[in-house]
């Protein structure tokens, strides 16, 4: 692996032990190296960004952290526990939430139903036979939690509308709310501003910053909107061709010559 152009000391994720630690993650697709010995640490409550050119391996890295892909090498630990071999749903219950690069909502379901289903999935209390017999009505507690999330995301006006009738910007908020319903300790956001206009992007960033400040979960953000990245995260990692080429404080990394050459250009 090439030496990072902006270096940081081990443990610079903060004095607290990291909530997430990825060590030497490697992944290949049909002989093509997608990730090569990628290391990352995220401290509890920390806002960290992951940037890089298209095809650098950012989404692949997300999928390895979540268990949607199995890396050929390396380990992932969450709060000191090795989760490398765990399936996706167990990692989600341990506290990793995510949103997707392209909106992945459940067509035909309302915003409220998205939140209710997520709450039941988080607890693992859903039973197919109850669904079939129509005995699976949401409890008062589940309703309250969903209502709180509707308020938190500001989706009151759309709460009982089918998600396919919503604009992309509102859809992104539904995804964010659904991820927050899992009560994540670490939230992975994959290009949340993609397809949003300037105003929607600013609204999403403000909402995210407010909710994060209140709930203090850690965030790992993949994003091409440099404005959003620099306003939200305090540390940055840069991937290029599956290798980390830089990491460190946001401003230093964005000012780094190698990062500008590989990713930013003449901004």
């Amino acid at each position: 692996m090439s030496a990072p152009s902006v270096t940081e000391q081990p443990g610079s994720a903060g004095p607290r032990p990291p909530i997430l630690e990825a060590r030497a993650i490697s992944k290949r697709f049909a002989g093509i190296t997608a990730l090569s010995d990628v290391d990352m640490q995220v401290a509890p409550g920390e806002l960290v960004g992951l940037i890089g050119p298209n095809g650098a391996g950012k989404t692949t890295f997300f999928n390895c952290l979540l268990g949607m892909l199995r890396p050929e090498g390396g380990t992932v630990t969450l709060e000191g526990r090795d989760i490398t071999g765990l399936p996706v749903y167990k990692r989600a219950r341990l506290g990793i939430g995510r949103t997707f690069q392209r909106l992945e909502l459940f067509s035909g379901m309302t915003v409220r139903e998205h939140f209710l289903v997520t709450e039941r999935a988080r607890r693992g209390t859903g039973r197919l036979w109850k669904d079939l017999l129509n005995l699976a009505k949401p409890t008062a507690e589940e309703q309250d939690l969903a209502e709180n999330m509707i308020e938190l995301t500001g989706l009151q006006a759309e709460a009982d509308k089918a998600v396919e009738s919503l604009s992309l910007g509102r859809g992104r908020l539904v995804e964010l709310g659904r991820a927050l319903m899992t009560q994540p300790k670490l939230l992975l956001l994959d290009e949340p501003s993609s397809g949003l206009d300037v105003r929607e992007t600013a609204g999403l960033a403000d909402k995210l910053a407010a909710v994060q400040a209140e709930r203090e979960f850690a965030v790992l953000l993949v994003e091409h909107d440099v404005e959003m990245v620099s306003s939200l995260v305090t540390r940055l990692y840069v991937l290029d061709f599956g290798e980390l080429i830089a990491s460190g404080p946001t401003a230093a990394v964005l000012g780094d010559e190698q990062v500008r050459r590989a990713y930013l250009g003449d901004m």
Binding site: G195, V198, G265
Partner: protein
């Protein structure tokens, strides 16, 4: 291009709907031969509906569309494509079970014939070197941004009469966006008129000689770029549906 030149494409009082939902209300503007028009506006303002109408993917319920002086209001998309209208749609449109090279070859043989297809392939790889590196990879296994490059490469190597691009920069890294816009400038220099739909306002305005701002299915503002002055005075407020200037964050990103 002078203002006196006859329009290449002209929309007159165009109305459109999706089922019971009206999406365009009396939209009129024209694109000059060899000109560059930036079509701007927030999400849901009707931009994509306008470009779908311009390329024949959607037929208006009212109004008229003329292309090179000919009424094409009810013309189907493939006929407009043969007349020289090329549409690079939003999002990724790739054949996921074919390789990168197969995706490109399929399009290029159709457009240029077997002989010219290899030269077109070379131009596509020159434009997006990453695609050259991944030529034997299945398109479905590419990253989101690479799939976007692949769908753009299929249209950007051509020089049609009118190239319509919908959110070119979506999902692309900043460096690649710069390169794509340089390519657009080259295509324009060869005589192609452009209709550019874009969220990155400054990027679009760097090319455009004419601006149309949409809001709630209507044209809110249109005119020659130099006549509209500084973008924060009239263009950004029109995009944001405001009377005052846009906020600092929006202006900065735009």
């Amino acid at each position: 291009m002078t203002a006196a030149a006859p329009p290449l494409l002209e929309l007159q009082d165009v109305e459109a709907s999706y089922g019971p939902f009206r999406s365009l209300f009396g939209v009129s503007f024209s694109i000059a031969e060899g000109g560059v028009t930036a079509l701007l506006g927030g999400n849901g303002s009707g931009k994509t509906t306008v470009v779908r109408i311009c390329s024949g993917l959607l037929h208006p319920i009212g109004g008229q569309i003329r292309y090179q002086g000919q009424d094409v209001t009810t013309q189907r998309a493939f006929r407009l494509a043969r007349l020289g209208v090329v549409h690079a749609p939003e999002g990724r449109s790739v054949f996921s079970t074919l390789t990168v090279e197969e995706n490109l070859t399929l399009t290029f043989r159709q457009c240029f014939g077997r002989r010219e297809a290899r030269a077109a392939l070379a131009r596509a790889y020159d434009l997006f070197p990453r695609l050259g590196e991944r030529r034997r990879q299945l398109a479905g296994t590419l990253s989101g941004g690479e799939q976007r490059m692949l769908s753009l490469a299929r249209v950007l190597v051509r020089a049609p009469s009118l190239l319509i691009t919908d959110e070119l920069s979506l999902g692309l890294a900043p460096l690649v966006i710069d390169e794509v816009y340089e390519t657009l400038a080259t295509i324009h220099a060869s005589g192609t008129a452009l209709l550019v739909v874009e969220q990155h306002v400054r990027q679009a305005l760097s090319l455009a000689d004419h601006v149309v701002v949409m809001g709630k299915g209507r044209v809110q503002l249109s005119g020659r770029t130099e006549e509209l002055g500084d973008i924060s005075e009239r263009i950004l407020p029109a995009i944001h549906g405001e009377r005052a200037s846009g906020n600092g964050r929006g202006a900065a990103r735009a």
